[in-house]
Symmetry: C2
Subunit: 192 residues, 2 copies
DNA sequence: GAATGATCTTGAACTAGATTAAGAAATCAG
DNA sequence: CTGATTTCTTAATCTAGTTCAAGATCATTC
C-alpha cells in the first residue's frame, strides 16, 4: 500500500508532524476489493469513511423502481462513502462498488472521531475537502439544469479523461443523468 | 440585530466561551439590503461569507445566454456566498440578491481566516456545516435526475413551506430546473 | 388612480431525451 | 473453445418539458 501519496494529499492542505502521520496511517484499515465487490451496501449502516488507494469505485443510489443513479466515481486519492449514514448511523441510501480490482482504506467512524479529537487540525483538512466538494456539487447541479446532455458528456470526458477506461458506458450515462441509449446516440452523432 | 439566534446556530455544533462568542460577533459586518439589492455580484471577487439575519436572499448563476439559474434561497440562519471566489479570490460566478428587505452579516475573508486561526474549533463548525450541505447537494442532484418536475415541486414545498411567500414563482421554477410556464402548468393541473 | 412594468397563465407547436424492443458486440464462466 | 450473460447500439414511438406568443393579473411609481 502506497501511503506516501495518501499523506501527500493531506499535506497539500495541512502540515503534519511525523507523529500525526503515523497515527493517521495506523487507523486506516486496508481492504482489497475484486471487481464487482461492495465497499458498502445500501440499507446497512456505514462503518467508516473510504479512501481509494488504487482501482476505481462508484457510489450510487437505487430508487424504488430499482434504477441506479450514479453520484460519484472515485479513483486513487478520492474519498467516498455516505456522510449522512456515517454521522447519523442510519442505514445508508448509497452503495459503493468496485468497478475494477481496487484497494481501499477504511477509516472507521470511531477512529475518525478519535483522530479529530486528538489532532483537531484534521478538522481543517476535512473542512477544506468538504468545502471544495461543495463547490463541485453546486457546479454539477447547475450543469445538470442548464446544459444539454451532449455538453455534459464533453465536460465529463475533459474532466475525467482516465475514467472511461474503467467505467462501462451505462454508468457514465447514469452519472450524466441520461439513459444508455441516449448516450449511445450522442456518441454516434459525434463520430460522424 | 439578533445575535442570540445566530450564536445558537453555532452552539448546536460547537460550544463557545464568552470570549469566543464576543470575538465572533465582533467580526460580523451587519448590512441592510432593500428588496432587489445585491449582497454580491457575479464578476466581482467575493469579499466575505454571508450569514442571513432576516429576510430572504437568492444566489444564482447567469449563463452566457443570460438565463438565471437559482441554486439557493437563504432565510434567517443560513449562510450563503460563493465559496470558490471566497477562497481563490477569483471573480464570482454567482450573484446574491435580496428577495425581500433583509439584514445580512458579512464575515470578511481576512476576519474569517483570523477566526479560524485564533479559535480552531470554528474549523469544526464549518466542517460540520459543509458536510451537511454536501449531503443535501447530493440528494438534490439525485432528485434532479430521477424525479419528475412535479415531485420536485412537492418536495420543495414540504421542505421550505415558508419560502413561497417571499419568492416569485419564476425563481422557484429556476431552482427546480424548469421554465415558469411549466411550473404554471403543474400548478394548474394540481388545483383541479 | 392611471400608467408602466413585472409576474403569472394559457395554448399551440416543437424537441431533447425516455421507452420499448431487438440485434450486435463484448465479456465471462466452465 | 462455447454457451451464457452483460453491455452497447439502432430504430420507432412516445412524452416531459421547452419555446414562442399573447393575454391576464399584480405591483410600483409618478
Amino acid at each position: 500500500m502506497d501511503y506516501a501519496s495518501i499523506l501527500a494529499n493531506i499535506t497539500r492542505h495541512i502540515s503534519l508532524t511525523k507523529e500525526e502521520e503515523d497515527f493517521f496511517v495506523s487507523i486506516l484499515n486496508p481492504r482489497k476489493l475484486k471487481q464487482g465487490e461492495f465497499a458498502e451496501k445500501a440499507g446497512e449502516v456505514t462503518t467508516g469513511f473510504i479512501q481509494v488507494a488504487s482501482g476505481c469505485l462508484m457510489t450510487y443510489f437505487t430508487d424504488k423502481e430499482g434504477n441506479d443513479q450514479v453520484i460519484q466515481f472515485s479513483t486513487a486519492g478520492w474519498w467516498t462513502g455516505d456522510l449522512h449514514s456515517l454521522t447519523k448511523q442510519e442505514p445508508s441510501i448509497y452503495s459503493t462498488r468496485a468497478l475494477a480490482d481496487s484497494e481501499i482504506l477504511l477509516l472507521p467512524k470511531i477512529r475518525l472521531e478519535e483522530l479529530l479529537e486528538r489532532y483537531p487540525k484534521f478538522e481543517r483538512f476535512f473542512r477544506i475537502m468538504f468545502q471544495n466538494s461543495l463547490v463541485t456539487h453546486q457546479a454539477r447541479l447547475i450543469e445538470a439544469f442548464s446544459l444539454p446532455a451532449e455538453e455534459r458528456y464533453n465536460k465529463f470526458q475533459k474532466r475525467y479523461p482516465q475514467l472511461e477506461q474503467y467505467v462501462p458506458l451505462k454508468y457514465i450515462a447514469s452519472y450524466l443523468g441520461i439513459t444508455p441509449e441516449f448516450l449511445s446516440k450522442i456518441r454516434r452523432k459525434r463520430s460522424n
